[in-house]
């Protein structure tokens, strides 16, 4: 399929053009996907500067490895696969953990009235809980909740069955809620846990 129902050219067609040497088409793919990619990476790393560099790295990798695009699957899945690799490589080659961005760690900076302030505190605590969650679990939540990826697409991206995705989402949200509740009881709980590190399993 070369065009979508709204008449626009599909991602896959654009990527095919990039592969065949029309590298300027990568700019169109960038315009379509860089915000989603940045959102995914900033929620995974907790750091906007790193996320920005990683987005750049992803598109440079696409340019570099354009010949490996086979056109057999969805472009978006391929894009996020490259993004996952880029993020893993970034943290593999760096021993220290980047600080969480203040801007990324707090949902709002504006002064708020009582109940809104309490709610805002809860959201900030949930954000912290999310960053304390092991990153393979955090990734599932980010893909499903914020990227709105279908279960089938997540399964394809991670190379697992749809049923397994459901089980893992269940476990991830359960663990997130547990961390959040523990943070509510004791705000200093587990503050030494690293951000952006690779999963232990």
């Amino acid at each position: 399929m070369f065009t979508q129902s709204d008449g626009t050219v599909t991602d896959e067609t654009l990527m095919e053009a990039v592969r065949n040497g029309d590298v300027a088409k990568l700019g169109m793919l960038f315009e379509r996907h860089h915000r989603a990619l940045f959102d995914f990476l900033v929620r995974m790393t907790g750091n906007a500067s790193i996320a920005e560099d990683l987005v750049q790295d992803v598109f440079v990798r696409i340019l570099k490895y354009r010949a490996t695009w086979r056109g057999e699957g969805r472009f978006e899945t391929w894009l996020f696969r490259i993004a996952r690799n880029a993020r893993a490589d970034y943290f593999r080659t760096r021993t220290t953990n980047a600080p969480i961005d203040e801007a990324a760690a707090h949902p709002s900076h504006a002064p708020l009235p009582g109940d809104l302030l309490a709610r805002n505190r809860d959201v900030a605590r949930l954000q912290r809980a999310l960053m304390l969650l092991r990153e393979d679990k955090r990734e599932l939540i980010v893909l499903a909740r914020y990227r709105g990826m279908k279960l089938e697409a997540i399964a394809d991206l991670l190379g697992i069955e749809v049923g397994t995705v459901k089980v893992r989402i269940h476990r991830a949200v359960k663990e997130l809620r547990d961390i959040f509740l523990r943070l509510n009881e004791s705000p200093s709980w587990n503050t030494t846990t690293s951000v952006g590190s690779c999963p232990t399993t």
Partner: protein, 249 residues
């Protein structure tokens, strides 16, 4: 686009009450905002990469093969010859080493001479790769230097030259990795500190800052502090430089 309702994403056998409890957490996740990307700056960086891919800058004149360098065909002939020569030298060394009875009296000096020739050949191939027009060949050349036992000063100079002048960001990034083994050399320390200020690419600047920290280059702290305070510098680089100063302090 977002999955606002968690229940559709859970296995069928999850208890309804538990699902409702988890759904509250799921909905609260919707309150976490993420920063908005600086799209214009990011697009400018991508355009620079695309421009470099569409209009690659001509490679600088070769110091080892004359002003015109080697064209692709001649280079590949050289590469093939070099590979064959390395293979022959390897076989010859093997024959000299075993069997022991048949070993000539002066075999050790011959082995040393052949090893030296092999080293020179490998070095020559690495250096010539680094002079090619194709960025992927230059990248290969930089990577090959990592396999050299005792690279000469010429290799270090070529790496520093690539770090300062290669038009391709990926080649410059690979050069930083390749230079790590020479981090104790005074000329390398001096050049990398200079490079961190002169680099046009924020990606390379950040990689250089990480390199300074990893190789504990305390003398770079002044330069990093200057970068961290320079409002003309990319904000990500400024933040990384500030982090670098803290690490080296």
């Amino acid at each position: 686009m977002e999955h606002d309702n968690l229940s559709r994403l859970l296995p069928d056998d999850v208890d309804r009450r538990e699902a409702e409890g988890l759904d509250a957490t799921w909905r609260m996740l919707g309150g976490i905002d993420a920063p908005v990307p600086e799209s214009d700056r990011m697009r400018a960086r991508l355009d620079a990469a695309l421009d470099a891919a569409e209009h690659p800058a001509p490679a600088p004149p070769s110091r080892w093969f004359g002003r015109r360098g080697l064209d692709g065909r001649r280079f590949h002939v050289l590469q093939g010859l070099a590979a064959a020569a390395i293979l022959l030298v390897g076989v010859a060394i093997g024959r000299l080493v075993v069997p022991g009875d048949a070993r000539p009296a002066d075999s050790s000096s011959e082995i040393a001479a052949m090893r030296s020739e092999m080293r020179e050949l490998r070095e020559m191939v690495s250096l010539s790769l680094m002079q090619q027009q194709s960025a992927s060949d230059r990248l290969k050349g930089v990577t090959w230097t990592g396999q050299l036992d005792r690279p000469s000063g010429e290799v270090v100079s070529a790496l520093l030259d690539a770090l300062m002048h290669d038009p391709n960001v990926n080649v410059r990034l690979a050069t930083i990795d390749a230079l790590e083994r020479f981090a104790s050399r005074e000329d390398v320390r001096r050049a990398t500190i200079q490079a961190v200020e002169r680099q046009p690419s924020p990606l390379v600047q950040i990689a250089l800052i990480d390199y300074m920290v990893k190789t504990n280059q305390r003398e770079s702290a002044t330069t990093l502090r200057r970068l961290a305070q320079d409002q003309q510098v990319d904000s990500a680089v400024r933040a990384r430089a500030a982090w670098g100063v803290l690490q080296l302090g």
